[in-house]
Amino acid sequence: MPDAIVTDGLTKWYGSKCVVNALSLRVPEGCVYGFLGRNGAGKSTTIKMLTGMVHPDGGSASLLGQDVATLPPEMRQRIAYLAEGHPLYSWMTIDGLMRFTRPFYPAWNQGLFDQIIEHFQLDRKQKVRHLSKGQVAQVSLAIGIAPDPELLILDDPTLGLDTVVRRDFLESLIQVIQRRGRTIFLSSHVLGDVERVADRIGVMVDGVLRVDCPTDEFKQSIRRVVLSFDGPPPTFSGCDGLVASHIEERRLELVIVGFGESHRELFATLTPQPKNIEVAELNLEDAFIEYTRGSRRAMPVFAGE
C-alpha cells in the first residue's frame, strides 16, 4: 500500500532549540495515525511543516507522493487541514464561510456539508464569532470534509472541547474514516480519543519520534513492573527498554518497553533478591504518561500530610 505521508530526516530549529529532530515517518494510505506528545514535543511544528506553513531546516516531507516544498494548489484540493484551535474567519457566517471556501474545491460535496451542519444543528446565519468552541470545531470539520479529501490532517482538533462535544466530534470523525479509506493524521493530548480512533500511533518526546507502531503493540509492549523487597531496594543500573524507574520505600517501580524473560532473569541477579514481582498492563493514557514523563515526575502535592 502506498504511503500518504512520508517524512525523511525532517528537522526544525527555533533559535538554538531543535524542536523537531530528524523525524522519519511513514503513514500508509487508509491509516488513522495518532500523533502524540506533550506540550512542546514538536507535534504542531511537524504538522506545520507537513502542511507547508513552516519551512523545514533539514530533511523532506511528502503528502500523497508530492514533496510539500513544491505542493501545488491542486494537491491541496485533496488534503484537508484542521489547524489547532480551528481558526476560521470570525466575522463570516457559516453560510458565508461555505460560500468563501466552496469555489476552491471542484469536488465540493454540498450534500455532505449540509448533512453535517444539520446533524450538529448549527444555524447557518450565525457568525463564527458567536459560536461556542465546540460549534466552531464542528463547522471546521464540515468545511474540512466537504471537499471529499483523501487525507485529513488534524492538529489537536478536540483541544478545549467539553466531553460531550468531543465525543460527538470523534463520532463524526469515525464516520468519516469509514467513508472509503481516508487517511487521517491526528495529533492530540486526549489519549483516550486517539485510542478510540487510531490504528497506529507515534509518540514525540522532545522533538524525537520515540514510538511508531500499531496502537495495540504499544499498549502491549509497555509494562509497569513493581519489585518488592524486605528492606531498601538495591540501586538499579538499568536494562533494555527502561523508560522510568523510581524507588518508593521498599518498592522499586520500573516502566519497561518490550518486557520479557530477559528482564525476569536480570531481576533474579539483583542483591537483595526481590520478594515479589508484579507486572501490570497500562492503558494508553498511562503508557503515554510513563513513556513521555521519563525521569520528570510530578511534585507530591500532599507530601506534608
Binding site: 511544528t45 506545520k48 502542511t51 507547508g52 506553513m53 513552516v54 519551512h55 494548489p73 491542486e74 494537491m75 491541496r76 484540493q77 488534503i79 487541514y81 489547524a83 484551535g85 481558526p87 476560521l88 474567519y89 470570525s90 466575522w91 460560500r99 468563501f100 471556501t101 469555489p103 476552491f104 474545491y105
Partner: protein
C-alpha cells in the same frame, strides 16, 4: 480569485466606511460646505483651485488611510490566527497575498482619488469657482494619490515582515512615508527641501519604482517566511 477579492473587500469594509467619512469631511472643507460642521471655510474664493493648507491635510489623510489599510490587511490573518486556514486553501501564497495587494492598492487609490475627483467635477462647473479651471491645477493632489499606493505597500511590508517592531520592522513604512513626503514637497515647491528638486516625471518614476520594489519584496517575504 474573485472569492479572495470579495473576502478582502468584506474584511476591510469598516475601514473603508471610516475612510469615506474622512473623505466626506475633507471634501466639505474644500468645497466650502463645512459650515454644518461648525464653521465656514470658503477656500474656493481665492485664485488657487486647491490651497496648500488643504493639500497638506489631504496628504496627511491619504497617508493615514494607506498606512491603516496596509497594516490592517497584513496583520489581520496573524492577529486572528487564520493564516493556517487561509494559506491551506488550494491557491498559492502569492495568489492569496496578491489578492490582498490588488484590493488594498485599488481601494487606497480609490479612496484618495475620490475627494479630488468629486471636487474637480464640482469646481469645473461654470460659476462655482472664481478662477479658470485647469486639470493641471490638480497635479499635486494626484501625485499624493499616486504615492498613497507606495505607503500602503510600505505598511503592508512592515506588517508582514517577521522582524522586531522596535527595530527594523517599520523601516519599509518609514521609508515610504519619508521619501514620499520629501519628493512630494520637492515637486510642489522647487528647491524645497533645500537641494532637492523633482520634476513630475521623476516623481512618477520614483513612485512606480517604489511600487515595484515593495511588491516584489512582499511576495518574496511571503514565500520565504514561516506562518507558525
Amino acid at each position: 480569485m474573485l472569492t479572495l477579492i470579495l473576502k478582502e473587500l468584506r474584511s476591510i469594509s469598516r475601514l473603508i466606511a471610516l475612510a469615506l467619512l474622512a473623505d466626506g469631511f475633507l471634501l466639505s472643507d474644500l468645497t466650502g460646505q463645512s459650515y454644518w460642521l461648525g464653521g465656514t471655510y470658503p477656500m474656493h474664493s481665492g485664485f488657487a483651485l486647491i490651497q496648500a493648507s488643504w493639500l497638506l491635510r489631504f496628504g496627511f489623510l491619504v497617508a493615514a488611510i494607506a498606512g491603516a489599510l496596509g497594516m490592517s490587511m497584513s496583520l489581520d490573518d496573524g492577529l486572528r490566527g487564520t493564516w493556517a486556514f487561509a494559506l491551506f486553501r488550494p491557491v498559492s501564497r502569492q495568489a492569496y497575498i496578491g489578492a490582498k495587494l490588488l484590493v488594498g492598492g485599488a481601494v487606497t487609490l480609490a479612496l484618495s482619488v475620490l475627494p479630488v475627483a468629486v471636487y474637480s467635477m464640482w469646481a469645473a462647473t461654470p460659476g462655482i469657482v472664481v478662477a479658470p479651471f485647469r486639470w493641471s491645477q490638480l497635479q499635486p493632489a494626484i501625485e499624493a494619490c499616486g504615492w498613497s499606493v507606495v505607503i500602503f505597500l510600505g505598511a503592508f511590508l512592515s506588517g508582514i515582515r517577521p522582524a522586531k517592531w522596535w527595530w527594523s520592522r517599520l523601516w519599509p513604512l518609514a521609508t515610504s512615508v519619508v521619501l514620499g513626503m520629501l519628493f512630494w514637497l520637492a515637486s510642489l515647491e522647487p528647491d524645497f527641501p533645500p537641494g532637492l528638486t523633482a520634476t513630475a516625471s521623476e516623481y512618477w518614476c520614483l513612485c512606480v519604482g517604489m511600487v515595484t520594489v515593495l511588491s516584489v519584496s512582499i511576495l518574496a517575504v511571503v514565500e520565504e517566511r514561516d506562518f507558525a
